[in-house]
């Protein structure tokens, strides 16, 4: 019953987020600040993980190909498919649920605990629009992060294959190009866009409606990570079923 209540409350929250807009001059500054916090601030960890996981995917693929009949370009092919279809959009989004999601929940939750949200409401500000809308706009740039993750993942795979002696550069690049379906990139960006909305709104929901003190802020961050991840995985399944089958 509590799950149904939360789902209903989440959609009511979304309705409030898009009503009674904050003054544009204020909103603009908030959006730039959120881009800095949520997008620019996440680039380091995303780049690091993408590069090395791309390398690991290439190495693992190469090490598991024992049959001499399997062409060497398969390493590049498998790296490209893994990175574009799943690793960059889904795996990075789960990481972002931990990094960005817990940041959003704890910052809004702290504002709730210290009555800053009450202060906004008393002043006549639509606190949900003020706090959540700029995050949604900022995270609409999230597909750019995923583009970089895709590039670095493949670059990491390429370098690991060459310098590890698992594949030649020509074979790897042939694998990248073979049977390339452009719609796979479109599919990846469609789900990335949906994930960006989930990343902005579910952690905001858990922060905004939390009750209690500092301990509860920590608990809300954990709960928000769990549910953001669950929703990302479910959406991933549904979108894959809808678009690729």
């Amino acid at each position: 019953m509590i799950y149904l209540e939360n789902i209903g409350r989440y959609f009511l929250m979304l309705k409030s987020v898009f009503s009674k807009m904050t003054k544009w001059s204020m909103l603009r500054n908030l959006i730039f600040k959120e881009i800095d916090d949520l997008i620019i601030g996440s680039m380091g960890i995303v780049c690091f993980i993408s590069f090395f996981v791309g390398g690991v995917v290439a190495i693992q693929t190469a090490l598991n190909i024992n049959n001499p009949l399997i062409p060497k370009y398969l390493v590049g092919f498998a790296t490209r498919q893994s990175v574009i279809l799943e690793f960059a959009p889904t795996f990075i989004s789960i990481i972002m649920a931990g990094k960005v999601g817990s940041f959003i929940t704890s910052s809004i939750g702290t504002m709730r605990v210290t009555e800053q949200i009450d202060a906004l409401e008393v002043m006549g500000v639509n606190s949900l629009n003020y706090l959540v809308f700029p995050k949604i706009v900022a995270l609409s740039l999230y597909p750019f992060v995923i583009t970089i993750a895709m590039f670095l993942g493949i670059l990491g795979g390429w370098l690991a294959s060459i310098y590890g002696g698992f594949s030649t550069s020509a074979d790897f690049i042939q694998g990248l190009q073979i049977e390339f379906i452009p719609f796979h990139v479109t599919y990846a960006f469609i789900k990335t866009f949906l994930f960006s909305f989930v990343l902005a709104t579910i952690p905001s929901f858990y922060g905004y409606y939390m009750k209690g003190g500092a301990l509860e802020v920590g608990k809300a961050s954990t709960t928000s990570f769990v549910w953001t991840s669950v929703v990302i995985i479910l959406i991933n399944y549904l979108i894959t079923q809808l678009l690729l089958t």
Partner: protein
């Protein structure tokens, strides 16, 4: 003036406010007092519209809050200034930005005029060199003064303060009390202060509403509170020996005068 008519509020089936009616007068410092758990904070938050009462009416100069449209409620809220118990300053903004926040949100003025207004109210609360400090870099007393400055920057008609003295030393607490009193007189606004600081009760309580277990157990002025024989009030206000003696001295003086 704020009229409160028979408001009731429950949480999870437990009735916290059991039908409170009173009037908070314009140009006066109205105090809500009572023990912890008596319903003071719920009452104050109901007045502010942060909680919706199940029954009753809250009327701001003839405007029944619960019958107003969302737009009208938001407009009314721009006439309200609030000082929260923990000050509720925005951590990521400087003192100056905190005070300017309501102006930037609702006033259509050039930045220079807004800055002048901010300088004026900060000077009014005796904060001159704190413009560029962040709340975390200021003391509790300074934070309260910034909160008061932010509450009055829009020239409110109604000022609400939730435990404005909590966590402050006695000297700073008196400064804050006097500031609230002066601002109430100066701007001729309706001020409602939620407190359990007996010093505030004696100093600035032009009207006092005493709550006990979610009902109004007594109301009167800071002069009348000395003379009342209401047991609930005397047990609460004169629980310390010091205040018992203060009361005895005051009553003795009154007797001698008469």
């Amino acid at each position: 003036m704020i009229e409160v008519k028979n408001i009731k509020k429950s949480f999870d089936g437990v009735e916290i406010l059991k039908g409170i009616s009173t009037t908070f007068e314009k140009g006066k410092t109205n105090l809500i007092i009572g023990q912890s758990g008596s319903g003071k904070t719920v009452f104050l938050k109901s007045l502010l519209g942060l909680f919706t009462p199940e029954e009753g009416a809250i009327i701001f100069d003839g405007r029944d809050y619960n019958s107003l449209s969302t737009k009208e409620k938001r407009e009314l809220r721009t006439e309200i200034g609030m000082v929260f118990q923990g000050s509720a300053l925005f951590d990521s903004m400087t003192v100056s930005e905190n005070v300017m926040f309501p102006l930037r949100m609702f006033a259509n003025q050039p930045l220079s005029e807004m800055q002048d207004r901010v300088d004026f109210v900060l000077k009014r609360v005796d904060l001159i060199d704190a413009h560029h400090k962040f709340p975390a870099e200021t003391s509790g007393g300074m934070q309260k003064r910034v909160a008061i400055a932010r509450a009055i920057v829009m020239n409110p008609k109604y000022l609400f303060c939730d435990e404005p003295n909590s966590g402050l030393d006695p000297k700073t607490a008196i400064v804050i009390d006097n500031l609230i009193q002066e601002i109430t007189d100066e701007y001729n606004i309706t001020t409602v202060v939620n407190t359990h600081d007996m010093n505030s009760v004696m100093e600035i309580g032009e009207k006092i509403v005493f709550l006990k277990n979610g009902v109004k157990a007594w109301e009167g002025t800071n002069k009348e509170i000395f003379k009342t024989d209401n047991k609930a009030v005397t047990d609460f206000v004169y629980s310390s020996d010091l205040f018992k003696k203060v009361r005895e001295v005051y009553l003795k003086e009154l007797e001698e005068e008469s």
